[in-house]
């Protein structure tokens, strides 16, 4: 001790500074090592407890869910299983959360009465209070978790959360509230869209589509309602939903959108019209070829529209014009379409190819390759 003290006093100020610095770093590093090992131990313990709890819960849950979906479970037996769950749940501090997670997980796989049963169990175990507490947390992640739990289990979301959607800058939180609304508002799931001024990202589109695809088709909202929404991504979203869910009544509104100033919307409208097989508006669609001649996306959509028509009739000219388009993809699509439309069209194509100095030969080869479809 004395020796080290004498060394220390013999160092000049800079050296003392370095040595102190080194000492601080080493102490911090060692602290980190202990933290690492501690965290590892806690994680192992936690995952063990969780697995154990899950197995316990699972047994009671099985009997609760399976019985109710086939034959009626006597209420005494129901109460018995519920009490079992409660006991197991309260034995551990993390018990309630493990239970909620398990219910949500099962909810993803089960439908019908079994799914409703999960909601009931959530309610009867008094778990909504756990979830609601999370809404008051300062961390947005915990808030999101609470919202997710309440909406997945078909509870309700306190009114004050609605106001949050306009206030929060946090995208994840905003998306979550939006999705919760859609899930919980059974009568008018997209009511929020009317006043919505946030973005509908492709990610939200995927989530919403997923949700609506589990809906009964007759109760789906009429997406054409928002075709004149001021936000263009909302319009794009609604068009894609209308075509995915085959809402044929959207056709007149889609035709109107053909004259929209944003070419992306025009292209999407044409795509929707062709997916909805609105072939009676073919003239309006083909007319867009003139206006948006150089737009790759619109050109491709028009070609596909004619391709789905299945026959050429009066529109040969439109397709043939595209054979000389400056964009490679457009030309290839035109060749593919002509190749797929029977002998007459193929003859025409061969003829055009000759006229164009065999510039299309490679493309014709590509288009007639059965392995490339």
């Amino acid at each position: 001790m004395n020796a080290s003290l004498t060394i220390w006093t013999e160092l000049d100020a800079v050296e003392q500074f370095f040595v102190t610095l080194a000492a601080i770093f080493f102490v911090c590093a060692v602290a980190l090592i202990f933290f690492l090992i501690g965290s590892r131990l806690i994680k192992t313990y936690r995952s063990k407890t969780e697995t154990r709890l899950q197995t316990i819960f699972q047994q009671s849950l099985n009997s609760l869910i399976i019985h109710t979906s086939t034959d009626r479970l006597p209420s005494s037996s129901y109460q018995f299983h519920l009490n079992e769950l409660r006991k197991a749940m309260n034995a551990y501090p993390c018990g309630r959360q493990v239970m909620i997670n398990l219910l949500i997980k099962l909810k993803k796989s089960l439908s019908g009465t079994s799914s409703k049963m999960l909601d009931t169990i959530y309610l009867h175990l008094d778990l909504p209070t756990v979830s609601k507490k999370k809404l008051k947390a300062t961390s947005w992640k915990i808030q999101v978790q609470g919202i997710r739990e309440l909406s997945e289990m078909n509870y309700y979301l306190p009114k004050r959360m609605n106001a949050l959607i306009a206030r929060t800058k946090n995208e994840t939180l905003r998306e979550e509230i939006f999705m919760a609304h859609v899930r919980l508002n059974k009568k008018n799931p997209l009511a929020l869209l009317d006043r919505y001024d946030g973005a509908i990202t492709p990610w939200m589109r995927i989530n919403l589509h997923r949700f609506f695809s589990q809906y009964d088709g007759r109760t789906l909202p009429d997406f054409s309602r928002w075709f004149e929404h001021p936000r263009e991504d909302v319009v794009m979203f609604c068009m894609s939903m209308a075509r995915q869910f085959k809402q044929f009544n959207a056709v007149p509104a889609l035709v109107k959108l053909l004259s929209h100033k944003n070419p992306m919307i025009v292209a999407s409208a044409i795509r929707s019209l062709s997916d909805l097989e609105a072939f009676h508006v073919v003239d309006q669609v083909v007319a867009q070829a003139q206006i948006h001649w150089s737009n790759e996306r619109i050109s491709l959509r028009i070609i596909r529209f004619i391709a789905r028509l299945g026959h050429l009739d009066a529109h040969t000219y439109a397709i043939e014009k595209y054979l000389e388009h400056k964009n490679f993809k457009v030309r290839l699509a035109a060749v593919k379409t002509l190749t797929s439309m029977g002998e007459n069209a193929q003859k025409q194509l061969t003829l055009r190819n000759k006229l164009m100095g065999n510039r299309l030969t490679l493309m014709i080869g590509h288009a007639s390759e059965p392995l490339l479809t």
Binding site: N62, I66, L110
Partner: protein, 121 residues
């Protein structure tokens, strides 16, 4: 009757096992990943396979092609998956699956389909 259930969701597997054993359709074997599924397939003669598509190591579709192409067996196979895209369903049938149930599903419906494939009442 021996039935193999493959899914990496243990909660779900346990529920399916509970449901099917209550209906007395036979012995239920469980695999929670593709490797285990293949091992069990080689060790036992199964009368029916229920499999998820997404599992660790080998996908459900690989299990289908393993049974049909390599083992050359006509064991009925039910695919139970959240991947309900038309393309995936068609591919599954193309490879030799007998039935496709989209998640979320109803356990009662699953039982009926299992019984039908096993020719039970």
């Amino acid at each position: 009757m021996k039935i193999l259930v493959c899914d990496d969701d243990e909660a779900l597997v346990s529920m399916i096992r509970f449901k099917l054993s209550r209906e007395n359709v036979g012995d239920i074997f469980i695999a929670t990943d593709g490797k285990e599924a293949k091992r069990l397939l080689q060790e036992h003669e199964f009368d029916l396979i229920i499999t998820d598509i997404h599992m660790p190591y080998h996908s459900g579709l690989e299990i289908v092609s393993f049974v049909r192409q390599e083992m050359k067996k006509e064991i009925p196979i039910i695919i139970l998956s959240a991947e309900g895209l038309e393309l995936t369903v068609l591919r599954a049938f193309d490879m030799g699956a007998n039935d496709f149930i989209s998640k979320p599903f109803s356990p009662a419906e699953l039982t009926i389909r299992v019984k039908r494939l096993l020719n039970l009442k």
